[in-house]
């Protein structure tokens, strides 16, 4: 029983972190209808940078998010303004190919500059745990989870309580009407993309302590995150939260009772089963087919 609860607790901790990582992806999709395949590469980029900060200056990897988040916000903004906005109005599949290309470029740059090998930031608390009634809470996971919750909460407040957030939500629902009431579509889109990228700032810093990574790890990460988004329903933030929790639990439960190597596979199976029953995902809306685009 303790083993089961332990697995549940770990699953929730990991799930929270996955939720943070997936939130950026789902935000970008919700507003821009762009599947940002480069989100995984953003994570690895940040993780590598965080590792470097920790190694050379000794900054705590999770605290490094304070530095990496604004940097990623800026990088996301620049990426949108100078690259992605160029293909506005083309079919959505082009954006998939473009961001896929960006992901490869980031992977290639990391390969060439820092080399193709495994890394992991291991601060002093790396192997320590809190113990509550026999249940172990690994410190790194706990700090990561708390950081994720704080950022997710902040994101929620920005989206629901500020003018900027309303502008983003308006643009996601009806871009042309939003433009008519004075919301600059390009500026809002760039902002949404930047916010989505910024979430990879926090996510990547957390990742660097929890998992060993190397440049090509971004494929694993993006397919996990995309899996979460598909499972929850494309573009739905609550869907991404639930999807992330399911992934976290599927992984820890499979690792506890089956084998670690099957954990990702079990998650993909869950996705397939859900899609069999609900083709649009858990919280996804079917695309309205009556309006000509």
């Amino acid at each position: 029983m303790t083993q089961f609860i332990q697995a549940l607790v770990l699953g929730v901790l990991i799930g929270g972190i996955y939720a943070l990582m997936a939130s950026g992806l789902t935000l970008i999709f919700g507003v821009l209808r762009i599947i940002n395949i480069a989100q995984g590469a953003f994570l690895i980029l940040v993780a590598t940078f965080t590792w470097w900060l920790w190694r050379t200056i000794g900054i705590d990897p999770i605290l490094a998010a304070v530095i990496t988040t604004p940097l990623m916000f800026g990088l996301g903004w620049v990426t949108y303004r100078f690259v992605i906005s160029r293909i506005k109005g083309q079919s959505p599949s082009m954006s998939v190919l473009l961001t896929f290309g960006l992901a490869l470029v980031i992977e290639g740059v990391l390969n060439v500059t820092v080399g193709n090998r495994f890394r992991s930031a291991s601060p002093s608390y790396f192997e320590e745990s809190f113990s509550i009634g026999g249940i172990l809470l690994p410190k790194a996971q706990t700090y990561g989870f708390l950081a994720a919750i704080v950022v997710l909460g902040g994101l929620y407040v920005v989206l629901t309580r500020t003018w900027t957030g309303r502008a983003i939500r308006a643009t996601s629902q009806n871009p042309s009407a939003a433009a008519l009431v004075g919301i600059g579509a390009t500026a809002t889109a760039a902002l949404a993309f930047a916010l989505g990228s910024a979430s990879a700032g926090v996510g990547g810093s957390i990742l660097s302590t929890l998992y060993p990574f190397f440049p090509a790890s971004h494929y694993d990460w993006i397919s996990r995150l995309l899996g979460i988004v598909v499972l929850g329903g494309m573009g739905s933030l609550p869907g991404a939260l639930i999807g992330a929790l399911i992934l976290g639990l599927a992984e820890t439960l499979t690792a506890t009772y089956g084998g670690l190597q099957w954990s990702t596979l079990v998650f993909y199976l869950v996705i397939m089963v859900v899609l069999l029953v609900r083709p649009q995902g858990l919280f996804g809306a079917r695309i309205r087919e009556d309006v000509a685009v």
Binding site: S93, L98, G108, V109, N116, Q261, E289, D290
Partner: protein
């Protein structure tokens, strides 16, 4: 030799290149290196051409297509290992395995529109790698499988493989060309252009997408089996490498996705770049950067790809004279006739053709259609009029299945249809046009008209779309609406009014019993409008029933009987036009309270 002259230039060039490639090992037999480079280019071209079927024609991008190469390789290798037969004999089984997996996956993720497909394809590639690594009894895990060396004499080098891959490439291109010529291929392009509209003209979008995905896996699977034998060794990381997928996507994109020869051309270019990267330094890591950079640049600056861009430039330098609507031709054309539908007309002739009972549709708090009833008798031209926002188009959407109703029933030709898919309703004989025309803009006018499928028989789906009886029928229909000379033009280049006429010809291709026309007169010039009403009358005389939404009231009163009036989501009056014209309820709904003084004056005069 005239047949050579008549051959399109691109096929001629392709033929010459093929002959050269066939002769190459004979002319230059002692050069294993260039042969090796070429045969890998053939392999890549097989994959890119196959990818093009689902991602180019149908527009559903797959980022994990190299999975099928790995599946084919593993199938052939495992069979060879356990039975002792030569892997080449097992290669076709690899193709079958790839198709089975593709159809199974497609059946799960291709039922909806949208983006789940591309995401699942990446995940699947990684998942197959995990399975191949961990299912040790079957795949030997990460140690991989070693196969026997080729049975032929060393002197032949790789020449047999060279020809095997070349034959596979020719077969794949022929297969892709055949698909492009059939109505199946036209339907795939229709899905890429406008999936909802494709469903409305009888294209079973789910089955089409699944078939396309399966078809795109077959030759890659076979090639995988041959490739395993060529390499004599395979392991999970090499067989399910994402870089393989990158090369496939890049090839098709560089050459021109959606075109027949584009992926082949692209594959040769990409393979030569790949080889150059190997020769001039740069391991796998630099290659990722190189191909990523090329992918970004191609998407930004050459999104259509080389071949289509070249064709466009060619057309610009060799312009064709612009043609206009053949009004005279249209006005003097023979009577519009309908082809007999396949199944005999149901004998329940006494029952109404279309019956809507209590149909309801809500959008959040707004009830657009509110327990609406409507009956269309066989052989009538029934009108549906009403103020903007009264729910007419929404009712159309409920009848044709473009939207699901929240309540009520729709009966068509003695069958309840409100739970059926849009294309099934199309196959029963229910056709529609759209208020804002929805043609497939990148297709030619003729392809647009050929695309509809009146039934779901394989014979119809795989009928030739570019010549033969279907194309002839489409040309006749275009002549009827006066646009015969536009057959080869891109549909998106036509004016709005012309597009309306093409859409009418398109819906006629469906051989419908009932046609729902959503504002057919909007944007059509008066003389053509005369022709349009004439066509409607002619079709009606030969047995087609119409339900027309139209704001041109004189036209409605002239053409239609009976007339239904909609307001606030339900029918408020119906009857012959003369009666509707006088109905105070109708005038009130249309004009509000302000009409009273003026109409009192007019009625006094009358």
């Amino acid at each position: 030799m005239t047949w050579i002259k008549n051959l399109p230039r691109k096929h001629l060039i392709a033929g010459v290149v093929l002959v050269l490639l066939i002769l190459y090992p004979v002319i230059n037999p002692w050069q294993p290196y260039p042969q090796g480079v070429l045969l890998l280019a053939f392999l890549l071209a097989v994959q890119a051409t196959s990818w093009n079927i689902v991602s180019g024609y149908a527009g559903y991008i797959s980022l994990g297509h190299s999975m099928f190469l790995g599946l084919g390789s593993y199938t052939a290798a495992i069979i060879a290992l356990h039975t002792g037969i030569n892997p080449l004999w097992a290669a076709p089984v690899g193709g079958v395995t790839a198709v089975i997996i593709a159809v199974g996956i497609g059946w799960i993720v291709l039922r909806t529109r949208g983006h789940a497909f591309v995401i699942i394809t990446i995940a699947l590639l990684l998942a197959s790698q995990i399975v191949a690594t961990n299912w040790k009894p079957l795949t030997n895990g990460s140690d991989g499988i070693t196969l026997e060396l080729p049975f032929w004499d060393n002197d032949f080098q790789n020449i047999p493989f060279y020809y095997m891959f070349l034959v596979l490439l020719v077969l794949t291109v022929l297969f892709s060309a055949w698909i492009a010529r059939t109505k199946f291929g036209t339907g795939l392009v229709a899905i890429r252009e406008d999936e909802g509209k494709a469903a409305a003209i009888g294209v079973n979008t789910t089955i089409f997408k699944i078939l396309a995905y399966g078809a795109s896996a077959f030759f890659i699977g076979i090639a995988g089996g041959v490739y395993a034998y060529f390499q004599t060794f395979l392991n999970p990381v090499g067989s399910f490498a994402i870089l393989g997928s990158v090369l496939i996507v890049l090839s098709a994109l560089v050459g021109g996705r959606g075109s027949l020869y584009g992926p082949v051309l692209g594959a040769f270019i990409v393979q030569f770049i790949n080889e150059g990267a190997t020769v001039w330094g740069g391991g796998a890591s630099a290659r990722v950067l190189l191909f990523g950079g090329i992918l970004v640049l191609v998407v930004l600056f050459l999104p259509a790809g080389l071949l289509p861009a070249f064709e466009k430039a060619w057309r610009k330098r060799h312009p064709v004279a612009t043609e206009f609507t053949n009004q005279v031709g249209a006005l003097s054309h023979n009577t519009a006739v309908v082809r007999e539908r396949l199944e005999p007309v149901a004998d329940a002739t006494s029952s109404p053709l279309l019956e809507v009972k209590g149909a309801t549709k809500r959008f959040g708090g707004l009830t657009a259609v509110d327990h609406a009833d409507l009956t269309v008798q066989r052989g009538t031209i029934t009108a549906l009029i009403g103020p903007n926002g009264s729910g007419k188009t929404t009712l159309f959407n409920l009848v044709t299945g473009t939207m699901a109703a929240d309540g009520g029933e729709v009966w068509f030709d003695g069958r309840r249809v409100d739970k059926l898919q849009p294309w099934t309703r199309g196959h029963l004989g229910l056709g529609r046009t759209f208020q804002i025309t929805r043609l497939f803009k990148e297709m030619t006018v003729l392809q647009n008209v050929v695309a509809p499928l009146p039934d779901s028989r394989p014979r119809t789906i795989f009928a030739n779309a570019s010549s033969g009886s279907e194309a002839q029928r489409a040309k006749d229909l275009l002549d009827i609406v006066g646009l015969g000379s536009f057959a080869r033009q891109r549909a998106g280049d036509l004016s709005y009014g012309q597009q309306k006429l093409v859409e009418l010809a398109q819906v006629l291709m469906l051989e419908p019993k009932l046609i729902l026309l959503d504002e057919p007169a909007g944007g059509v010039n008066p003389s053509l409008l005369g022709r349009l009403t004439e066509v409607i009358r002619e079709l009606n005389r030969s047995g087609v029933t119409f339900l027309v939404v139209e704001h041109n009231i004189p036209l409605v009163l002239d053409l239609c009987d009976p007339v239904y009036v909609f307001a606030r989501g339900r029918s408020i009056a119906h009857g012959p036009p003369s009666q509707i014209r006088e109905d105070p309820v109708v005038l009130d709904a249309y004009l509000g309270d302000d009409w009273r003084p003026t109409t009192v004056a007019t009625s006094e005069r009358g």
